[in-house]
Amino acid sequence: MSETGCVTAEGCTVEARPAPEIENPVMPYLRQDRIPHIWCPGCGIGTTVNCFTRALEESGLNLDRVAIVSGIGCTGRVAGYLNLDSFHTTHGRPIPFATGLKLANPDLKVVVYSGDGDLFAIGGNHFVHAARRNMDIMVVCVNNFTYGMTGGQVAPTTPPGATQTTMPFGNFENPFNLPFLADACGAVYVARWTVYHVKQLARAMKEGLAKKGFVFIEALSPCPTLYSRRNRLGDGVDQLKYYKSKSIIKNGADTKDVGLGFQGEIVVGKFVDRERPTWLEAMDQHFSGYFGEKYQPYAAPHA
């Protein structure tokens, strides 16, 4: 058998075309020399990364000027797989690192990509203040309701009743309603989608990249290895079925009404989209008014 043809049962040679080289459109956005990744089968983090690369593609941004910052945890590894200037920082601290990066070079589009434990337990204070300041960064939180990297401990997002290794008899703590928190702290854009809603999630990320100010996107994602298994919720596909059947799209919903219960209804959508001066705009405006001509707005390295 030749390389370009095959022989049929009748013995006549038919022309076969070589398989076309189709590159996965996501690949140019990944550090291909770091693949395979560490995420488990059925994990949703990769799906969110896929959505993010599509958002990047459609954003029209110069990718040399996009930086991604992660904390520690399963989602904390996202920075390491994206072919951008990428910073894998300390646990809970991607937001203050991103704050320094953005303020020192306002030309950069800075995205924080991390998990619920990283951003809202150890890093909660930083989230609150960056939102209050309207720091011009986009924060993507992959919320899988658990600490995946360390083996499935209770998170500040774990729904009441769910079992975790450090809540072995079921969680009795009250979890955060993340969109409500972001809204209350002053975020200018707040959305929640699940990894079932790939189109909507990618669109939200694209809108977030175009938005000035503190953007918060929550992406609900299955952790089949730890959260689902310990709670007998099946595999990743079962969680997608749950997201599909129990999600209700309510754009503009009042964020105080979008809290999550154990396997309960999930309100998804774009909840907040408003305008507010960013920290840098406020500083420039204030100092220009105060000092007049004498004020020295410092030049960004690529300005």
């Binding site: 951008l84 910073f87 920082t89 300390t90 203050p96 303020l103 203040h129 707005p297």
Partner: protein
């Protein structure tokens, strides 16, 4: 290269150490400071906040010291020279990011205006009790640099050196002031910008694709780039290979950690900075640093008046410790006297270097004020008996 004149307040001033430290940072090219208020260091950031709008840069008061100590590193990777300023309790919170600066080799300056501890301790009163914390405080192996000014003038002069050393070695550099040096007001002469030598970051000359973020030169220090330059760097606090990619195995660990400590240990000679007085004929040597050197001075003069041949070795760079120099001196003197505003920290280093060749007498002080010169004098005289 020469200092950017916009940051240099040339002239003769009557200011305290905190203000002088801020002027030193501005002269050195620092254009990003993140900080959190804490006595007795706050004046440094207060001055920076009032000066920077007319120079061009950013001050941000963060939500805590943890945030301050990582925000500066984000700014460093965007190309700025950066500093944060704190005192003991804040320094304790910053330990996490001292390790991050060490492993990611991020040039940055940490100012510690020391006060009495442990914990909240003595917020408004001096100590020198963070000396071992800056050496060993963050987990893992690394070698920091620390400088100990003893006057407002040195707060200016040595701050420029601190920024320069951060660039040359890409390590966290500690500026170890104390409450007295921070709040003491003296004459400070700030020269013309053309007389101030500043070290520019060593940017790579390689194009993207050829550049490897942690490929070191012969001096064991890698060249740097900044975010936004098109290099698509990956920086992580995990053990990493030359490319900056996580590599969690004993081989990569050995290579990285040996280089991180090696880049300082191999340059211990260049990093020795002391001021010596009366060492030529000395039989007894007082080893001091920072504010304690100011009170050791009169004690030494008085002892010499009484006919005791005593010399003074003041450590300007306290880390890395100048062990080789102390070793050399130990061969020809009878004793060392080590006064410090703590219960005996740097004296352990002196003992290590002297290695039993001469007695080493500690003159500890719990802090809250400085030593009476008389106390140091008595220890000197005790040795001669």
């Amino acid at each position: 290269m020469k200092a950017d004149p916009r940051g240099v307040l040339t002239g003769t001033h009557f200011i305290d150490g905190d203000h002088a430290a801020c002027e030193g940072a501005l002269a050195a090219g620092c254009r990003f400071v993140a900080g959190y208020p804490i006595t007795p260091s706050t004046e440094v950031v207060e001055r920076f906040a009032s000066r920077i709008p007319l120079i061009g840069g950013v001050f941000i008061q963060m939500e805590d010291e943890i945030a301050s100590s990582i925000a500066i590193q984000g700014a460093a990777w965007a190309g700025k020279k950066v500093m944060t300023v704190t005192s003991g309790p804040g320094l304790s919170l910053m330990m996490e990011h001292i390790g991050y600066a060490a492993i990611t080799e991020t040039p940055c300056v940490f100012v510690d205006v020391q006060r009495g501890g442990p914990s909240t301790g003595l917020p408004t009163l001096p100590a020198q009790s963070d000396m071992m914390q800056v050496k060993w405080g963050s987990h893992g192996d690394y070698e920091p640099i620390a400088l100990s000014p003893n006057s407002p003038q040195e707060c200016f002069d040595l701050m420029i050196q601190a920024f320069n050393l951060a660039e040359v070695y890409r390590v966290p550099v500690f500026f170890m002031m104390d409450e007295v040096v921070g709040h003491m007001t003296e004459r400070v002469v700030i020269p013309d910008a053309s007389a101030i030598e500043v070290v520019e970051r060593r940017w790579t000359t390689k194009p993207p694709g050829e550049y490897r973020a942690y490929e070191a030169r012969d001096d064991l220090v890698p060249d740097m780039v900044k975010a936004g330059d098109g290099y698509r760097i990956h920086i992580t606090g995990l053990t990493h290979d030359e490319k900056g990619y996580p590599a969690m195995n004993p081989v990569a660990q050995k290579k990285l950690v040996e280089r991180l400590v090696g880049k300082i240990r191999d340059h211990r000679e260049q990093l020795t900075d002391v001021r010596a007085e009366h060492l030529e004929d000395a039989e007894i040597v007082v080893v001091s640093f920072g504010i304690t050197s100011r009170v050791a001075g009169p004690a030494i003069e008085e002892a010499r008046k009484q006919g005791v041949r005593v010399g003074h070795l003041r450590l300007v760079i306290t880390w890395p410790f100048p062990a080789a120099l102390i070793q050399t001196i130990a061969r020809r003197v009878k004793a060392f006297v080590v006064p410090e505003l703590n219960m005996g920290q740097m004296v352990l280093e002196v003992e290590r270097a002297v290695a039993g060749k001469a007695p080493v007498i500690s003159v500890p002080h719990a802090g809250g004020t400085v030593h009476e010169p008389q106390v140091i004098l008595e220890k000197i005289l005790e040795v001669t008996r």
